[in-house]
């Protein structure tokens, strides 16, 4: 018990404190030796009101009413719940928790638990996002953790997200953090080739106890390799030595589009097209033949967009059970989610199951096993890209004077001359796009205590995903009828294993000096394998399996692998809970690098000083806790393709039935780790009896030896080679404040606010270059827009004008006229959450925002060209086109072909299509009512809540498209596909949960 207690000294983690109607105080002691327990948590059950015991194990807490229940907990001891019963003094004796050993000794690796840290760590507790209808844990961090920017790369239900911790640390290598679920290093990213399917969604967010984000080198460098982009630790729930609890949660709701482009109706399009033909000197009757007559009231007028979008259903069912005895504890859960998209035929379902077991056969041995299974099914849409079979492109572009259906209800043929003759409604209804993934993230861990102060741990984990994609294009769709329809199948497997062994020690001398440490070895092996086949010519469109294909059309496949090994060590010294120092050293090797450059050494050092424990601070009673810390360290990044350092001769297709080979990659044997050196200065404070809890960090991250795809002259036959070159600097401030603003009677208002301010700058290229064309410029952020400056429409003649390099008006722009316009990265972002409660009713209002980035809306590249582009329908604002000399407008005159002779084409990468993508979004509103306990008891229920909530309810932005979030991944050029992205949706749900 002693050691547990001593360790507890440094486990002084903070929760909200509050003033309220009555104060309860007392002392928490341990049953093992009767010594007071400092740093134990005291929480008012069902709220976020809480405090921690002081060095003498004493606490004082304000409760709302005398009937509240207090929850006492401390690592290593079993939690206890006590009814206040109008008592003002409650002394509690906690008994040792059977799982104490595991929680205690494996703290530093694998299962890293909350602890006193000298690095920059932020965390989100599972309760914060419990029962929110989001599919993946990365979403849970959005707006809730300072320094973590989360944006959707697709609004598809279950789709992938883009997560960046503290800026963008690399140019070509990966920028996603390392995710570790209960010690298993999992692969983030997409699973399916048919739409966007998030590998992280395999973990049910309701199973998560907490998410910890390691932001600086001091906290992350124990993970050396890959830690350069930060580390996200996910800890799932475990059972306790307690009676068995059952929790049931049911939620139902609807999904709606957040917004849609308004496009022209048939008469409007006919009128602008007629004008375009006239302006271009063409025969306007030809326009009438295609688009109909502008004044024709009988003109077919199809609302393609309306036919494509819908209000979808959303259901989430969740059931969990937990409990255990002294030797064995368990957590068992199952969930099912069904989420229809806002677009027809698009839906997502997920089923998960989990069993977390802890067993302690002897006092010295602990066995932990976590077994999780999931199935994800994504149906429907292409999630981005300029494709005619994407609903986000073609529904807007399709001609309104063409019907969707024939009179007999069958699909009408769409004219071949436009959109490849693709009737988008028919296409989306009849084309099958389906991705099914089965995944497990599981692990086994044994910990054996060799000596009272020394333990050894063996750990093995696996992240295994099996994905099957299917794309069936039946012959009923005219575009596919020529070859009798096709079916494409692909099977892929991602196998990610990691194992580690480590020694932990923890010893205290003279009651003042504590030394802890870890020494270990880790190995990781990942395989990615895929096989695919396509067959064509099916005798009947209903048949879609390959044995029915008359023509075996094509086969494909790939295999790739990598290995990583690392030795790690960490030592930590603590003096009297006042001074802390920690050193981490890690040496990692990766198969991805040149054979002589595979190994890199990373490390960090950090110090902390708790001012509030100093005798001279004793008089400052308003300070509950005050601590400053500083850290410096270096972490590595190896997120490149697996064989990027090698010269490769790969497939060059075929000729005459013989396989062709060619140099597909020029190798660089010198390739080695990208390094990121980070400095962090932080302060943590709790003031006024917990009314204000604040954390502030100032940080700088210098990324060096970037894994840089440096360009080669294409006349060499190669476009690029990866080298270690260039440097980047990210720096900023993370601020996180929780306040309890008002406590009056039963009313309570608390606020959580976080903001991250950062800048990103390319500090060095290679070979003394100060720019790489217009892709990268030293001194600028790495993602920016370099474009023509649009100068509006000449009122005299309706031609679009630009400002040339000298700032003069011109109709014709060349390469030199492009200018640096602005950054694609926001310079600040964060979230604001307010919780209001009155007795059993609570309301949470959560905003998330980002500010200061531009975005180029590629949708408008076709949709907003003044009716000049062939048969494409246009946004309705294009009707404000230039009409006669003197007309002042921003939309040029319609001109068929979009190219007035002697002038630049209408379709330009200009500021006309760029807009400020800053936004503030009302991300979540939840109204919750806790059902009366007395009523619940009668029906055998311990606790029950009923709630309604909405997601993405309102967005304030000046962005010129639908969803600034999905377009905020920082596309800098036309090649980047922000075309036709699946926008986020609005979700409204109502739910109920019971704990038995």
């Amino acid at each position: 018990m002693k050691k547990v207690l001593l360790f507890g000294l440094v486990l002084f983690f903070t929760s909200s404190l509050a003033l309220a109607q009555m104060t309860v105080s007392g002392t928490v002691t341990s049953s093992e030796d009767g010594i007071p327990v400092p740093g134990a948590t005291v929480l008012v059950k069902g709220t976020t009101i809480g405090t921690a015991t002081d060095l003498d194990g004493q606490y004082s807490i304000d409760v709302l009413s005398g009937s509240d229940v207090l929850v006492f907990s401390f690592v290593g001891l079993r939690s206890q719940e006590v009814n206040v019963n109008n008592r003002s003094i409650i002394n509690i004796t906690l008994v040792p928790e059977i799982t104490s050993l595991s929680e205690y000794v494996v703290r530093s690796y694998g299962d890293q638990t909350r602890r006193e840290v000298t690095g920059a760590i932020a965390s989100v507790k599972g309760e914060v996002f419990e029962d929110l209808p989001m599919q993946s844990l990365d979403r849970a961090m959005q707006g809730r953790v300072a320094g973590v920017q989360v944006s959707s790369s697709s609004g598809q239900p279950g789709g992938t997200l883009n997560v960046r911790i503290r800026g963008v640390g690399s140019i070509n290598a990966g920028t996603q953090p390392l995710y570790i679920v209960d010690g298993v290093q999992v692969a983030a990213g997409g699973l399916s080739g048919q739409g966007s399917q998030n590998a992280l969604a395999s973990i049910n967010p309701n199973d998560i106890a907490s998410i910890e984000v390691l932001k600086d080198a001091a906290s992350a460098s124990i993970y050396g390799a890959q830690a350069a982009n930060g580390v996200v630790l996910i800890t799932t729930k475990r059972g306790a030595n307690d009676r068995t609890k059952l929790r049931l949660s049911v939620q139902e709701g609807i999904v709606q589009p957040m917004g849609l482009y308004q496009v022209m109706n048939a008469n409007q399009l006919a009128s602008i097209k007629r004008q375009a033909y006239i302006n271009a000197g063409l025969n306007p009757d030809e326009a009438t033949e295609i688009f109909g007559s502008p004044g024709d009231r009988e003109l077919t007028d199809t609302d393609w967009v309306n036919a494509m979008y819908r209000e979808g259903r959303l259901s989430v069912y969740d059931l969990s059970m937990s409990g255990g005895d002294e030797k064995t504890q368990f957590y068992l859960s199952g969930s099912h989610t069904f989420h229809e998209g806002q677009v027809i035929m698009s839906d997502y379902s997920r089923t998960t199951g989990r069993l977390n077991l802890t067993h302690k056969p002897t006092n010295d041995l602990t066995i932990n096993a976590n077994i999780a299974l999931s199935r994800q099914i994504t149906n429907g849409s292409i999630d981005r890209g300029n494709f005619v079979n994407s609903p986000f492109v073609s529904a807007y572009l399709a001609r309104p004077n063409v019907p969707i259906y024939n009179e007999d209800g069958s699909f009408a043929p769409y004219p071949n001359a436009h959109l490849f003759g693709y009737n988008i409604v028919q296409g989306v209804m009849q084309e099958l796009r389906k991705g099914v993934s089965y995944q497990t993230v599981s692990n086994l861990q044994l910990t054996y205590r060799i000596l009272p102060w020394l333990a050894v741990t063996g750990f093995a984990g696996i992240d295994f995903a099996d994905n099957k994609d299917e794309n069936n294009r039946p012959s009923t769709i005219p575009a596919f009828s020529a070859y009798g329809g096709s079916s494409f199948y692909s099977d892929s497997r991602l196998i990610n294993t990691n194992a580690n062994g480590n020694f932990n020690f923890d010893k205290k001398f003279n009651d003042l000096h504590t030394v802890t440490g870890i020494l270990g070895y880790e190995y990781k092996y990942a395989i990615d394998e895929r096989t695919s086949a396509e067959g064509r010519n099916f005798p009947n469109p209903v048949l879609r399996y390959l044995q029915n294909a008359a023509v075996p059309f094509s086969v494909g496949g790939y295999y790739t692998e990598y290995k990583r090994a690392g030795f790690f060590s960490q030592a930590r010294y603590d003096y009297d809970d006042r001074y802390t120092a920690e050193v981490t050293l890690r040496r990692d090797g990766s198969s991805r690098f040149g054979s002589n450059n595979q190994w890199g050494t990373f490390g960090a050092a950090s110090v902390g000083w708790r001012l509030s424990s100093e005798p001279f601070m004793e008089n400052a009673v308003w300070i509950d806790n005050l601590r400053v810390r500083a850290s410096y360290g270096v972490t590595g990044n190896s997120s490149i393709e697996n064989f990027q350092s090698r010269s490769l001769v790969g497939t060059g297709g075929q000729y005459l039935g013989f396989g062709a080979l060619r140099f597909v990659q020029l190798g660089n044997d010198l390739l080695t780790w990208e390094e990121s050196a980070s400095t962090n200065l932080g302060v943590d404070g709790t003031f006024f009896n917990g009314r204000i809890i604040a954390t502030a960090d100032v940080w700088r991250k210098d990324s060096n030896k970037l894994l840089f795809d440096t360009q080669l002259p294409i006349d060499s036959g190669f476009g690029q080679i990866t080298r270690n070159a260039g440097s980047l600097r990210n720096q900023g401030i993370d601020l996180d404040i929780q306040t309890t603003n008002v406590v009056y009677d039963k009313f309570r208002w608390s606020t959580n606010f976080n903001i991250s301010i950062f800048s990103n700058e390319l500090t060095e290229l290679y070979e003394g270059l100060d720019s790489l064309g217009t892709d990268l410029i030293v001194g600028k952020p790495i993602e920016f827009f370099y474009a023509y400056e649009y100068a509006g429409v000449n009122p005299a003649n309706g031609s679009p004008m630009y400002l040339d390099k000298d700032g003069e008006y011109t109709y014709f722009v060349g390469d030199e006229d492009r200018k640096y316009i602005g950054s694609a990265l926001p310079w600040n972002y964060g979230g604001l959450s307010n919780i209001f409660s009155y007795g059993p009713v609570s309301l949470e209002v959560f905003f998330q925002y980002q500010y200061g980035n531009l975005a180029f809306n590629q949708d408008l590249y076709n949709l907003a060209q003044a009716g000049s582009l062939g048969q494409d329908n246009q946004t309705i604002d294009q009707l404000n086109f230039w009409r006669q000399p003197g007309h002042v407008t921003n939309t040029p005159k319609p001109y068929e072909g979009g190219n007035i002779p002697g002038q630049s084409r209408y379709q330009q990468f200009s500021t006309r299509l760029l807009s400020d993508a800053s936004y503030i979004r009302l991300k979540q509103v939840t109204l919750n009512y806790s059902l009366p306990a007395q009523f619940l008891k009668k029906v055998g229920v311990q606790q029950g809540n009923i709630y309604v909530q909405g997601l993405n309810l309102w967005t304030f932005t000046r962005y010129n498209g639908i969803d600034p979030e999905v377009n905020s991944v920082g596309a800098t050029s036309l090649e980047a596909s922000t075309y036709g992205t699946y926008p986020s949706s609005k979700q409204l749900t109502a739910g109920i949960n019971f704990t038995f």
């Binding site: 044994l446 054996y448 790939y558 064989f643 005459l656 062709a660 080979l661 006349d715 036959g717």
Partner: protein
């Protein structure tokens, strides 16, 4: 728990840690690729490189589409029927709407060739020596073709320079195998590049095997799907014609005709009745060099998205049919000319009057698929006629008449000479090779202004848009790379 169990768990943990500790090897193998040492250890590796050159030539941004269509629409042979955004700029000769082949596909093909030429005869390369020579000959031939195309797209022909701008493409005749090989270079002059092309073709002629016209491949013979002596002579004669070396062009064309069994009266060409059908035959009976394409070369939507057949014809119901013959082209055909029959009159929504769909690119192999005849025998008559027209107009007329006799037409005016004779030769070329990627280059190499169909504005020969622009990214990357005039 028993002591035995305790012990066994201790042992287990020790084993885990020791096993992990010993496991530091990081060997992995890229199972779907080879290292250069393994790939190029024997002849079959080099032959696979040769297949890569042909495969690249088939791509849509080269002969698979661009090189066949763009030279037609940049001039006066084609019109856009449906505005899908494609070739709309080329139709009006918009700024930078030109032919873009300054890419990794063409230069990658050159590097394939360079690797073969430098390495295949190495002693350590296992394989038959005669076979090595043939493959080396193919590499010379393909390198010549790649550089010839780069030259005619990005450079003025020697002697036809505007404002004395005489730069050709960047010349590389050694392989790039390491990053240091990929140095920044300046453009060579047009003459230097032509000299290299000439030398490559002469080398190829020494090494390559023979093929007859329209010969399909067999066990030991390439046929016309791979480089051969006749093809090399024919390309050489075309190169000389572009270069203005008329005597050499005539001689090379004559040699090619002898090799291929083409007589001065046109025997050896298909007869008039088979002209249209010949384009739906594999290989084309007049082909001396033809690229073979198979379905696996295309992704599942390439046929409808990118094939020549889909873009220019309506033979397939799902075809895009966005490009048709210009009315100007149709009007040039004399009565009885079977070449007129490669165009079928039809209508299109939004266009008054008839439009014309191709029957050259018919997708006869199914799913929009067909081969690409690159060098067709009839061109030899036209090359020789053009090479002769100033010095031997009678011979030129005879060559034209030989071709015309095979196209359902009688002889031309017996006194035709000088510019009118040249005009006639260019017209025959226009009609014979419509949609085969010659028109713009035929006008350009003769220093002619580029006429356009309908009301589109003619492009004077001195206009900067005669040459294509080198991609901006390359100009920005390589300080020594000079952009073509007018593009900045």
């Amino acid at each position: 728990m028993s002591m035995v169990m305790k012990k066994s768990i201790k042992i287990f943990l020790q084993v885990v840690i020791v096993a992990l500790g010993s496991c530091t090897q990081l060997d992995t193998s890229p199972r779907q690729s080879l290292t250069p040492e393994i790939a190029l250890a024997d002849l079959s590796g080099y032959e696979a490189l040769a297949f890569s050159m042909y495969n690249r030539a088939n791509s849509f941004n080269y002969y698979g589409q661009t090189m066949m269509i763009a030279p037609e629409i940049l001039a006066d042979n084609l019109r856009v029927i449906t505005n899908t955004g494609r070739y709309v700029g080329e139709e009006v000769n918009a700024d930078r709407a030109h032919i873009d082949i300054w890419n990794g596909n063409v230069f990658g093909g050159i590097n394939d060739a360079n690797l073969i030429i430098e390495g295949i005869e190495g002693e350590e390369v296992k394989g038959d020596e005669d076979w090595k020579k043939i493959i080396k000959g193919e590499a010379y031939f393909m390198r010549a073709l790649f550089y010839f195309d780069l030259s005619r797209v990005y450079s003025y022909e020697p002697g036809r320079e505007v404002d004395n701008f005489n730069l050709g493409p960047i010349l590389r005749i050694e392989p790039t195998t390491t990053a240091s090989d990929a140095d920044f270079r300046t453009r060579s002059t047009n003459v230097q590049v032509y000299e290299q092309i000439e030398q490559d073709l002469l080398n190829a002629i020494d090494l390559l095997p023979y093929s007859t016209l329209g010969q399909p491949p067999s066990e030991r013979e390439f046929g016309v799907y791979r480089a051969n002596v006749g093809a090399a002579f024919m390309l050489l004669s075309r190169v000389y014609l572009y270069w203005g070396k008329m005597a050499e062009a005539e001689a090379a064309a004559s040699t090619a005709m002898n090799i291929l069994g083409l007589s001065s009266n046109g025997t050896g060409l298909v007869d008039a009745g088979s002209y249209v059908e010949a384009f739906s035959t594999a290989p084309h009976p007049e082909s001396i060099f033809e690229l073979e394409i198979r379905q696996v070369d295309w992704s599942s939507v390439d046929g409808v998205n990118n094939s020549l057949n889909s873009l220019t014809s309506n033979t397939n119901a799902a075809a895009q049919f966005i490009l048709g013959a210009s009315n100007d082209l149709i009007q040039t055909f004399e009565a009885g000319d079977v070449r007129r029959n490669t165009w079928v009159e039809t209508t299109a929504e939004g266009i008054e009057g008839p439009v014309y769909a191709s029957r050259k690119w018919t997708g006869f192999k199914g799913d929009f698929l067909e081969n690409l005849p690159i060098l067709r025998a009839s061109e030899l008559y036209l090359i020789r006629a053009e090479a002769r027209y100033e010095t031997n107009p009678g011979g030129a007329r005879a060559d034209i008449n030989a071709l015309r006799s095979r196209r359902g037409l009688g002889p031309v005016d017996a006194v035709l000479s000088g510019q009118p004779l040249l005009n006639r030769i260019l017209l025959e070329r226009r009609q014979e090779f419509a949609l085969e990627g010659h028109r713009f280059f035929d006008l350009k190499r003769n220093g002619r202004d580029i006429p356009k169909h309908g009301s589109f504005l003619e492009v004077p020969y001195t206009d900067y848009r005669i040459l294509s622009n080198i991609p901006l990214s390359q100009i920005e990357l390589n300080d020594q790379l000079e952009q073509n005039p007018g593009y900045n």
